[in-house]
């Protein structure tokens, strides 16, 4: 019923707004690959998976880089916060898993939003913790969370190694899958948890983004960890907001949508908390180099799509 609206939500959140110098020119391919592998609009499938009886949802996020982004970037945490809020609103209990560096800002964001999600700090190399997290989650969601390539290494989109900088969570998702439970991966590059579901096609169509020759191990940046469903966006935050918008469609509740006002506010709060713009590492009101106002405009358009779709049908008189 909501396929048309969800399709357009998918499309608006994958409109690429990036400047030369950062990896660009591939979001449409990323989307086309993800969409071809799915059974319908990406956000709708994800929302359908989340739109169930109250349960336990684990959200894994966070991407810190010493010196450049010591407390992590804002892409991921904002999406996690907003999705957690929507999920709590529909009755789920949410736990957020992130690295110690990011946990502080994450807790402040949650507290500011009046949300109840607990924030658990991931310990590097702690397989038991990851198994416990998997067992404690009916649904597991990764938002802008790096995954390992076939050689077990994590890389940023610039082919710089991220090994040792944060916990590798592939084990959590493998344990979760072994329990037969559903998971969702949200990303914007191909090197994230969940994008492993698309890896073969991504390598085929985007070898220049995979950059196998530039990664020291030769395995490229694209991750291998699959999830049940995958949503891609211009940024992972926007993709997460798109899932919220699709939830709003399914539940006939536009209030589940993120708002442009809050998106603007989050950017400035994020600056105060030290969360970085992943586009350049600056502590500025931008995500992946996209200024807050443009992100807010995208959120507005997503919400407008939902609002239009939820209007009662009314025939035009002429």
């Amino acid at each position: 019923m909501h396929e048309i609206a969800a399709d357009n939500i998918d499309r608006v959140l994958t409109v690429e707004i990036r400047r030369p110098g950062v990896t660009r020119g591939f979001k449409s391919v990323l989307y086309d690959v993800a969409r071809a592998a799915a059974d319908g609009p990406l956000v709708l499938g994800a929302a359908g998976m989340l739109n169930g009886p109250p349960g336990r949802v684990g959200i894994v996020t966070g991407a810190a880089v010493p010196v450049h982004m010591p407390l992590g970037e804002n892409d991921g945490p904002f999406g996690a916060l907003v999705l957690a809020g929507a999920l709590e609103r529909i009755g789920h209990t949410v736990t957020i898993y992130t690295d110690p560096e990011v946990a502080g800002p994450m807790r402040v964001l949650i507290h500011r939003a009046g949300q109840a999600a607990a924030t658990i700090e991931l310990a590097r190399g702690d397989a038991r913790q990851q198994e416990d997290a998997a067992a404690a989650s009916d649904i597991l969601v990764a938002i802008e969370r790096l995954g390992c390539n076939p050689n077990g290494h994590m890389y940023g989109m610039t082919a710089n190694s991220r090994d040792g900088l944060r916990a590798k969570v592939g084990g959590m998702f493998a344990a979760h899958a072994a329990l037969g439970r559903p998971s969702l991966g949200i990303g914007d590059g191909g090197n994230e948890i969940g994008l492993g579901s698309l890896r073969a096609e991504l390598v085929r169509w985007l070898p220049h983004i995979n950059q196998a020759d530039k990664t020291p191990c030769g395995g490229g940046v694209f991750a291998t960890t699959p999830t049940t469903r995958t949503v891609v966006g211009s940024t992972s935050n926007l993709a997460a907001y798109g899932v919220c918008a699709a939830l709003a469609l399914l539940r006939d509740d536009a209030a589940l949508c993120h708002t442009p006002e809050e998106e603007l506010a989050l950017h400035h709060v994020g600056v105060g908390l030290g969360l970085a713009d992943g586009g350049g590492g600056g502590i500025i009101a931008a995500t992946d180099g996209i200024p807050a106002e443009a992100n807010a405009a995208t959120v507005l358009l997503m919400r407008a799509i939902v609002q239009c779709a939820l209007l009662p049908e009314r025939a035009r008189a002429f």
């Binding site: 707004i17 110098g21 880089v65 350049g280 996209i290 200024p291 443009a294 995208t298 407008a304 035009r316």
Partner: protein, 340 residues
């Protein structure tokens, strides 16, 4: 500015948001895909690049618009005038062109209001030749014979180097004009602006058509797709009238979710090609344009009311779109090395 940027512009202006029960839903993507398949490159790039190559300082460009008829849209709708004003402004600011705005007399006041709100003084013919920052606005007569004479006169007097049609109805194979929902209109009730497109073709003048339904000038390029995809594409409400799909083609077709948005996309692409963000108007200007256009009598094409909507989309949506377009262009003009 590169292909990625214009592809983003194309994608943005083709985002569909329509309530159910009114104008057809789920049609924009396939029709855009059809237009893209024929033209290969991003549509907004093709239009902007063509305008940049064909139009120089002091050249006159005809910008043709005006959609909607009495009784429901007696002074036309908001889709068309705003796009026309945006294009006219972009051409004047960016290329030093002299825009000549054309619409039926009944639709002209909102077009003038939108242009003036965009910063173009609409002046008389004498002043038009004496200064920049202005536009000429002329009524198009109704009907074929008068339209033929008008087309000849316009070419004779203005020697246009390009013509841009924004949400301007073109006839189907039977010579009938149509609303999107299949209501036919005889040529004597409309400006026959397609005659301008035909004359332009004969004389090698560059043309751009901007549409969002398939009944607009330019959409002849995707005739078969419109016939197949639009509910009334092949068969009108009156089954004998031949369907809404126009046969009129232009050199470039920009197909968008709202024709105004297609025009904004062209302005954005031109801004990028020229390396000048100011060629695309800002959000304050956009707000002013919509409000003044409605004050002058243009109605929303879905509600048929004097409200600041465009095909049912809110002022906020227009502003959001302009914000995103400006950022797409702005970022395309800057390079950064991330370094980590």
């Amino acid at each position: 500015m590169d292909a990625t940027t214009c592809d983003s512009i194309d994608r943005l202006v083709a985002i569909e948001m329509r309530p159910g029960g009114g104008i057809p839903r789920g049609v924009i993507q396939p029709l855009y895909a059809a237009a893209r398949a024929v033209q290969k490159q991003p549509l907004t790039f093709l239009a902007a690049d063509g305008l940049r190559r064909h139009v120089g300082k002091g050249d006159r460009v005809l910008v043709v618009t005006g959609a909607g008829t009495p009784p429901w849209l007696p002074n036309g709708e908001t889709d068309g005038p705003l796009g026309a004003a945006a294009i006219a402004r972009a051409l004047e600011v960016g290329l030093g062109a002299k825009p000549v705005l054309l619409a039926e007399q009944r639709n002209l006041a909102p077009v003038i209001a939108a242009a003036q709100a965009a910063g173009l003084a609409v002046v008389d013919a004498e002043l038009f030749t004496q200064r920049t920052g202005c536009a000429l606005a002329l009524p198009l007569p109704l009907g074929g014979p008068a339209g033929q004479e008008a087309a000849e006169a316009l070419f004779r007097e203005h020697d246009p180097k390009a013509i841009v049609f924004v949400e301007k109805a073109g006839p189907n194979a039977k010579g009938l004009f149509h609303s999107l929902l299949g209501t036919s209109r005889t040529p004597d009730t409309m400006a026959n602006a397609h005659l301008l497109a035909e004359r332009a073709k004969a004389q090698g003048v560059f043309t751009v058509g901007i549409g969002d339904g398939g009944n607009e000038i330019g959409c002849g390029l995707i005739l078969d797709a419109v016939r197949e995809i639009q509910p009334f594409g092949r068969v009108s409400k009156n089954p004998e009238d031949g369907g809404i799909a126009t046969v009129t083609t232009t050199d470039v077709l920009v197909f968008a979710a709202v024709s105004n948005w297609g025009a904004y996309g062209i302005a954005a692409a031109l801004a990028g090609l020229l390396g000048r963000l100011d060629v695309l108007h800002d959000t304050d200007t956009k707000r002013r344009m919509l409000e003044r256009c409605v004050e002058a009598g243009a109605m929303d094409g879905v509600e048929a009311r004097l409200v600041p909507l465009v095909d049912g989309t809110s002022l906020g949506v227009q502003l959001g779109l302009i914000t995103m377009l400006r950022e797409i262009v702005s970022l395309s003009l800057r390079t950064i090395e991330r370094g980590f």
